[in-house]
């Protein structure tokens, strides 16, 4: 089920820095995502995970650093830039309209038209196709979103991000509020995205989830890179050590004497 359209093979972020007033949220951070690869960003609270993806989503432009698509520099100043580059973000709150059904939510803001009205048949057909492709377990695409479980809602939110045919999908804590079987559902969904040839950036607190689904794990600590592992080669102890700072895998010596 590989994607038919050629997509950029690689997204790179180089030397990204971002400060909020006196707080240096990101310091010289690098990140690479290739097509068909799931990259997990892990780190403790305040490590800069959310800030990093917000830079990529165009919510907060970076202060310095470059973003490259297939080695060509691009600028992302606002969410529209990100969308035009094919970067879709599913934020933690999902931003779904509970009173509308799945089809309406998927196509919200870019409804297909026919004559003067909506082309409900075409939208519904393509929604079924998309849901099947994602192996989603949803009773019907005409179900109001309010009736869906947390995992199903996550699926709808992810499916909606795919409507614009992106090349990179960013998922912010997709399993944070979910139970065991629903988490499995979402992890399955992430594998479907990889099969479609998308680059997936996954933010998560759960080491188990990350190990189950990711190809690479990028650790952030206090706003800096603190390790980049292939999942196959690394144990959870090593990852936790990198997150907590027990091992310091930074490439450069500390600029100050302390760990701050």
């Amino acid at each position: 089920m590989r994607a038919e359209t050629p997509r950029p093979g690689k997204l790179s972020m180089r030397g990204i820095s971002k400060r909020f007033g006196a707080v240096r949220a990101l310091i010289d951070v690098d990140l690479d995502v290739r097509a068909g690869e799931v990259v997990a960003i892990v780190g403790d609270n305040g490590a800069g995970k959310s800030t990093l993806i917000k830079v990529l989503a165009g919510v907060h432009p970076a202060d310095s650093g470059t973003i490259l698509f297939d080695d060509a520099p691009v600028t992302i100043d606002d969410p529209t830039d990100a969308r035009d580059l094919g970067i879709a973000t599913v934020f933690q709150d999902l931003a779904l309209c509970d009173n509308l059904d799945v089809v309406s939510n998927l196509w919200l803001g870019r409804e297909l038209r026919k004559g003067g009205g909506l082309d409900e048949v075409e939208m519904e057909q393509r929604s079924w196709a998309l849901m099947r492709e994602l192996s989603a377990k949803i009773p019907s695409v005409r179900t109001p979103v309010a009736e869906l479980s947390g995992g199903q809602r996550q699926t709808v939110a992810v499916a909606r991000s795919l409507i614009g045919d992106p090349s990179i999908v960013i998922l912010d804590e997709p399993t944070a509020a979910l139970g065991i079987s629903q988490t499995a559902e979402v992890l399955n969904l992430i594998e479907r995205l990889r099969e479609r040839g998308l680059g997936v950036i996954l933010i998560s607190h759960s080491i188990a989830d990350v190990q189950a689904v990711a190809d690479r794990i990028v650790v952030l600590r206090l706003g800096r890179n603190n390790g980049d592992f292939r999942v196959a080669d690394v144990s959870s102890e090593t990852i936790i050590a990198a997150i907590t700072g027990a091992t310091d895998v930074r490439r450069r010596p500390l600029r100050t004497g302390t760990d701050r």
């Binding site: 931003a95 309209c97 509970d98 309406s104 803001g109 870019r110 309010a146």
Partner: protein, 404 residues
């Protein structure tokens, strides 16, 4: 895995009724409470006064409902956004004053005056929408200010005269009081509407079936159209026993149907429901929420102005009390009683029609019983509270059934 997600084919009678029952059980009541309520009210009043359900009285009911109902359509729109417009009464009063002063006193051509009335209404709505989106002031406060301000404008336009009568033989007053459809035309309109309903249902069913989507069977579509035809024919036949179907009432019903189609079949309608459901989600989906607010407030005030014209036509006069008294609250109550949620994102244009029939039935019923307005106000208030309680309860049931 794919077998978990295949559209169910051909939905027949049993599936249709089953779905209806399960929707009601989970608190998605729709129009059910108001239809039951209307039946109860009619039965009670008929028991108290046998003339209540007479053809003459029901014709009166339809003619009384047109003005308030038209205003209530606008209220339905703002309620769908989760907003409110408290100034519809004053805006309809301004429109009524412009009509009387511009046409009767200044002698402007009638079409110009009518367009001016509706345009002023729309402008007022644009102002509300702009204030709401630019400064984020709650619509409750903006429109409360509008209620006072535009009452002042109405009095200013009317000037010292205070009350202006419209010539009785003018088309406006004829429209409001005297124009009824000939029997053959009323039956033709019923037949054509039902044919359009059936055709749209059948072609949708066919398109969905061709696309491999679940579709209601032709039999169900035909039955629905047949029931609609029988119901409407009975209603029209009964009204035709006396004066018949008023042109003004037909105008109101046409507005309801137009609003219903705009809400359910267009991207604009979808965006209204989306903003009412979750404004942040709508914004992130790329909907220009500011435009939605402005368009809805403009439509609401324009409909209020139209309602003002209808009320003036019915009364054949504009005065300082036009649009005052209970018109404002009746229009808001009608929308809520009709089943449009105060919490936004849920409702239908038809709630304006059903709600206004309830309000006006109570009003006419007490008039027939020679009870003064004290009782009428108290009963209308109680019905409104009941409607809001049903709205809140069904919201809770929906939450419990996971349909919040």
């Amino acid at each position: 895995m794919t077998d978990t997600l295949r559209p169910v084919q051909h939905t027949g009678f049993r599936a249709s009724t089953g779905e209806f029952v399960s929707r009601i059980r989970s608190g998605d009541l729709g129009a059910l409470p108001v239809v039951v309520g209307l039946a109860v009210i009619w039965i009670v009043f008929q028991a108290l006064n046998p003339t209540f359900l007479s053809s003459t009285n029901l014709v009166n009911l339809t003619m009384q409902s047109a003005a308030v109902g038209t205003i209530a359509i606008g209220i339905v729109l703002v309620l769908l956004l989760g907003e409110i417009d408290l100034s519809v009464g004053s805006v309809s009063g301004v429109s009524s004053a412009i009509l009387a002063v511009g046409w009767v006193q200044a002698g402007w051509p009638l079409p110009v005056v009518l367009v001016a009335c509706v345009a002023v209404g729309a402008l007022i709505g644009v102002l509300y929408g702009a204030l709401r989106t630019t400064f984020g002031v709650p619509s409750f406060v903006i429109t409360l200010a509008g209620l006072l301000g535009f009452l002042g404008l109405q009095l200013w336009i009317l000037g010292r005269t205070g009350s202006i009568n419209l010539p009785f033989d003018s088309p406006v007053v004829q429209f409001g009081q005297q124009w009824f459809l000939p029997d053959w035309l009323s039956y033709t309109i019923v037949a054509l509407s039902c044919a359009a309903f059936a055709w749209s249902g059948l072609s949708m069913s066919r398109r969905r079936r061709d696309a491999g989507l679940p579709a209601v069977s032709y039999a169900v579509v035909a039955t629905r159209a047949g029931l609609l035809l029988v119901g409407l024919l009975l209603a029209v036949w009964y009204l035709n026993l006396s004066r018949g179907v008023g042109v003004m009432f037909l105008f109101f019903v046409a507005l309801v149907v137009a609003a219903h189609l705009a809400l359910t079949r267009t991207a604009w309608g979808r965006s209204v429901f989306a903003v009412g459901g979750n404004v942040e989600a709508a914004r992130r989906a790329g909907i220009r929420t500011g435009r939605v607010y402005v368009s809805v407030f403009a439509l609401c005030s324009a409909l209020a102005a139209t309602g003002g014209i209808l009320a003036t036509a019915r009364l054949a006069a504009a005065n300082q009390g036009s649009g005052g008294a209970d018109l404002n609250l009746n229009a808001i109550a009608a929308a809520v009683i009709g089943g449009t949620s105060l919490f936004g994102g849920r409702g239908s244009a038809f709630s304006a029609l059903l709600g206004v029939l309830v309000i006006m039935s109570i009003s006419l019923g007490f008039t027939l019983l020679n009870l003064d307005s004290s009782v009428r106000y108290m009963v209308t208030g109680a019905v409104l509270v009941l409607a809001v309680v049903i709205d809140s309860l069904s919201r809770k049931t929906r939450a419990a059934a996971g349909r919040a």
